[in-house]
């Protein structure tokens, strides 16, 4: 009976985890972030036309906002969106599926490395962890990349055990696929590959004849990605956020002192800065309490993991250090290199860029939990699972309150809340009505494209008319998107001079168009105010009569 219960336990945990990732997926998170709209709309465009929003046929990267998103999420989402239609739910669905798949993967990985008990605990930790629920419920290509990397890792440890070529091929090709999903993997996977090769060199050498063909196949898979490396489309994003590219002196460096002063070495202070950023990804404060500094990338009152998991992580690390093996060393390597891409950017504790880090930490927490269970005296061993269950249930209840009640109200602005409501309203206007969005960064267009679900060829035409040349799609990273599309304009509004443009509808945020700017002007009619869930005014839609 007990054995049957244990066999069903992972299934039950995965079911709960799946529910947490899929429940009201289209509604929560509240709002729809511009990156989500970009990936979702481009998938829609690919499905219908084979081209992205710029009209580029099957691009290697997606240029939206000059972010140059890696393509895999878009291409895998395209048939899903084609099947169920374009919506917040369909755009987010692939990430949710990736998250649910990860629950299975972590079970199998932990079982391969340690055994069933750790596998169950690790699955539980992942199922309820705030970071994984959060990133499974938004359009996050990094979550897909993480799942692919995890599968790659699983097949790698299977290959080490079995020597089967198919495991090798699956592992390497999935690692390669992860590099097509998110930028961080482009740094982590090659380093991980080198470490894995060094670590298992004798085994690889023994089987080298069998491994040539699959290696070549994977190499061919990566050729398109390599071809991008030295083009703006391949490096712009990395260079744009790198700590080295920002024209700032590192903290501690004194400009007034001589450059030759050994105690004022820029190299030393820069290295110190990067080291500080690297260590911040292992800081208990960030992992178990504070979380991501960006309000869009975190849940109110929650961090990456729950505070009670900290001592188990410490125990897990101690166990791995005490009794290490090849697989555990590889897992530790994964953990140590995972934050490198994030540490090289100037932003402190960016959870999305360091997403790869949290699977090894999850496994270590699971290991810690199972170690406490194993080492406990008989009486406590009976109680311990109940204690963990109690902590888990309590944590999930509090998390659910924060995620489904507090965060939608307090952080809707950070999730670009309001555009759906804007589109619903402006669609009531005649097609020739001039509508101007106050948008200096020209990013709101993507929400309009997404929520209107227009034929992509219409926007392709607007792109052509704006003078954009596909020749420079990968080469030129300068901002280049249409400011006009159908009857819409997306640009900075000069209100003092434009407030007299008769017949024009302006859509502006409440901060840029306070009530005082129009309330006493009989020529300006307030058509609608869009509210955030907390009652604050998000946008005002006014018409100049």
């Amino acid at each position: 009976m007990k054995k049957r219960a244990i066999n069903w336990l992972p299934v039950a945990i995965i079911v709960v985890g799946a529910i947490l990732r899929v429940l009201s997926l289209g509604k929560y998170p509240s709002g729809f972030f511009r990156d989500e709209a970009a990936l979702g709309y481009n998938a829609f465009s690919i499905f219908l036309t084979g081209k992205d929003e710029y009209g580029m046929l099957l691009p290697l990267v997606f240029r939206s906002f000059e972010v140059f998103f890696l393509p895999l999420y878009v291409y895998l989402s395209a048939p899903l969106i084609g099947l169920i239609g374009l919506s917040e739910f369909s755009a987010r669905f692939l990430s949710a599926i990736s998250g649910i798949a990860a629950l299975f993967l972590i079970y199998f990985i932990a079982r391969e490395v340690w055994g069933k008990k750790t596998a169950i605990f690790s699955t539980l930790v992942l199922a309820i962890s705030p970071w994984h629920i959060f990133y499974s419920r938004g359009v996050f290509e990094g979550n897909l990349a993480l799942t692919l990397f995890s599968v790659g890792f699983l097949f790698w440890i299977k290959f080490i055990k079995s020597d089967k070529t198919k495991h090798f091929f699956l592992s390497t090709s999935l690692f390669a696929a992860s590099m097509y999903a998110y930028q961080a993997e482009r740094v982590v996977v090659p380093i991980f590959a080198v470490l894995a090769i060094i670590h298992y060199f004798p085994k690889l050498k023994k089987n080298w004849t069998k491994l040539i063909k699959p290696s070549l196949a994977v190499f061919v898979l990566l050729v398109p990605l390599f071809s991008l490396t030295f083009r703006a489309g391949g490096y712009h994003r990395a260079f744009g956020v790198s700590v080295f590219s920002k024209n700032q002196n590192p903290p501690g460096y004194e400009i007034s002192l001589s450059k030759d002063n050994l105690l004022n070495s820029k190299f030393y202070f820069r290295a110190r800065q990067v080291t500080a950023l690297y260590f911040s990804y292992f800081s208990p404060r960030n992992l178990f309490f504070e979380g991501d500094y960006d309000r869009q990338r975190s849940v109110e009152n929650n961090s990456v993991f729950y505070p009670w998991m900290l001592p188990f992580m410490i125990i897990g690390i101690a166990m791995v250090v005490k009794k290490t093996s090849g697989k555990k060393r590889l897992l530790l390597s994964w953990m140590l290199i995972a934050p490198l891409p994030a540490a090289l950017t100037g932003d402190p504790f960016h959870t999305y860029r360091s997403l790869l880090l949290y699977v090894p930490i999850t496994l270590l927490i699971g290991r810690g939990l199972s170690q406490v269970y194993i080492e406990s005296r008989r009486t406590f061993r009976k109680v311990f699972p109940l204690v963990v269950a109690g902590l888990s249930v309590t944590s999930v209840v509090f998390f659910a309150f924060s995620y489904f009640v507090l965060t939608p109200t307090l952080r809707a602005k950070e999730w670009d809340y309001g555009y759906k409501e804007i589109v619903e309203f402006v669609n009531t206007f005649p097609e020739d009505k001039r509508i101007v969005f106050n948008d200096p960064r020209t990013e709101s267009y993507i929400h309009i494209l997404f929520f209107e679900e227009n034929d992509p060829s219409i926007y392709h035409k607007a792109v052509e008319e704006s003078g954009f040349s596909k020749e420079f799609y990968y080469e030129d990273a300068e901002e280049n998107r249409p400011v006009r599309y159908k009857n819409y304009e997306f640009r900075q509004v000069d209100w003092p001079s434009e407030r007299g443009d008769e017949g024009t509808v302006f859509i502006m945020s409440a901060e840029t168009l306070p009530e005082s700017e129009f309330i006493n002007d009989p020529k300006i009619e307030l058509l609608k105010e869009i509210y955030y869930p907390n009652g604050d005014i998000a946008y005002r839609i006014v018409e100049v009569k």
Binding site: P251, Y268, F279, S280, P284, R285, E290, V397, F401, L406
Partner: protein, 435 residues
């Protein structure tokens, strides 16, 4: 004299020197706490006490005393053959930026640290075993934690009200009372302060990366100690591990209950960190492997380099943060005013300088300062013509300010005697008479 005795005496003498040298001048400027403390004892010691060196001297002496206590405690905790670890620990503590900086300023945390060391010393001297001491510390720590949770704060009550306001209507009341209540919010607030103490950046870098360079008295420890701490954690014995754990839980319990933050009030956390790093040093030193000896040498060189970098920055005043409580402006400014004010002349000082009255009393060595008036209205707005004026113009001032001129010059109606820049509050100070 035994070699160990010579070594520890050398450490104490060296520590005393680096704590006492230029004590009044480094760090530059006194904090309001230091000034208030001196003025409080004016009636006892007269104006002799109104001296930066003498104000800080008790803390420096107490800091040296805590090193002595630290050594004694470690000598009792470790076996006699581990005397070298005690000496190395004491040396590492004495040169740690954390303890050094706290020894040279007004630091209530230094007093707390010293009292705790004294208590532990007497317990161990009385024959109480380390095991028992560990359990007592652990027990007190958990007790403090429970008391903390059951002591709601005003901020927690406010946060609960806000959350319940948001959730009303969407979550049923019994459930809402469970997920949002003052005890939960109190726990959240207090645990946040504890987690500030569980951050690498807080100890080895200039604060949390999110806070960048804004943390006073940073860094606390040199980065070279980090691998030594990990090594020490690996090599230290079980009994001592329990003792250090008990100590840490006790400290975190105090932080949890009393919401102690900042480098002064959390100083007691230095004990386990330094002790572990000393064990790390011992492990390296005892190693027979050549590569480990080379690695240790490299680490030692780097540690010396880091210490010199810190030392230079500390002496130069570069470790000072944007939010430093130490006001360097007053010393020279008050000296200038004293020199240039005519006998019996009224001096009108803008209180935009912030708590300036106390600083003037201190530097003028006069607790009455009858000829001085401290105005909360910018002095340039007053209609008075006679007197010496100390006006203030913030960096981000608007054209509405009487002293403001677009070209950055001073108004022609005033005869400027001197100007100073107040770095703490980012404002220009001008000393003038009306023309």
């Amino acid at each position: 004299m035994k070699k160990e005795t010579k070594s520890i005496l050398t450490v104490f003498v060296f520590s005393a020197i680096i704590r006492l040298i230029k004590l009044g001048a480094i760090p530059e400027g006194l904090s309001i706490e230091e000034v208030d403390l001196a003025l409080k004892y004016f009636s006892t010691f007269g104006d002799t006490i109104l001296n930066p060196f003498l104000v800080r001297l008790p803390f420096a002496l107490f800091g040296i005393f805590t090193l002595f206590l630290f050594f004694l405690v470690l000598s009792l905790v470790f076996k006699p053959k581990k005397i070298n670890v005690s000496i190395v620990s004491t040396l590492l503590l004495s040169i740690s930026p954390w303890h050094l900086q706290q020894s040279r300023i007004y630091s209530p945390g230094m007093l707390i640290f010293g009292v705790l060391m004294l208590m532990i010393y007497f317990f161990l001297k009385k024959g109480i075993s380390i095991n028992l001491a560990s359990k007592v510390l652990l027990g007190i720590g958990f007790f403090l934690f429970i008391v903390g949770v059951l002591s709601p704060t005003d901020e927690a009550r406010f946060a609960t009200d806000v959350q319940r306001g948001i959730a009303r209507g969407s979550v049923n009341t019994p459930l809402l009372k469970i997920v949002s209540n003052k005890f939960v919010e109190t726990y959240r607030q207090r645990i946040g302060v504890v987690f500030e103490g569980l951050d690498f950046g807080n100890y080895f870098f200039e604060g949390h990366p999110r806070e960048r360079w804004g943390i006073e008295e940073s860094p606390k420890l040199i980065l070279s100690l980090l691998p030594l701490i990990f090594l020490g954690l690996y090599s230290v014995g079980r009994q001592l591990k329990k003792f250090l754990l008990g100590w840490s839980i006790f400290c975190l319990g105090c932080i949890f209950l009393f919401l102690w933050r900042g480098p002064s009030l959390t100083l007691f956390l230095v004990f386990p960190l330094i002790t572990l790093s000393a064990f790390g040093v011992e492990k390296f030193w005892a190693s027979k492997k050549r590569w480990q000896k080379k690695a240790f040498l490299l680490l030692a060189v780097f540690a010396i380099f880091e210490t010199f970098v810190f030392g230079k920055r500390y002496i130069d005043g570069s470790t000072k943060s944007l939010f430093s409580p130490r006001r360097a402006i007053f010393k020279d400014m008050v000296a200038f005013i004293e020199e240039n004010a005519m006998p019996g002349e009224r001096v009108v000082v803008s209180d935009r300088l912030g708590e300036s009255k106390q600083y003037f009393k201190f530097y003028l060595k006069d607790v009455y300062i009858e000829d001085y008036e401290f105005s909360d209205i910018e002095v340039s707005r007053k209609n008075a013509k006679e007197g010496l004026f100390v006006g203030v113009l913030p960096d981000d001032s608007s054209a509405a300010e009487p002293l403001y001129r677009e070209d950055g010059s001073w108004p022609s109606e005033i005869g400027v005697l001197n100007t100073f820049y107040d770095e703490n509050l980012r404002q220009k100070v001008v000393i003038y008479r009306q023309k």
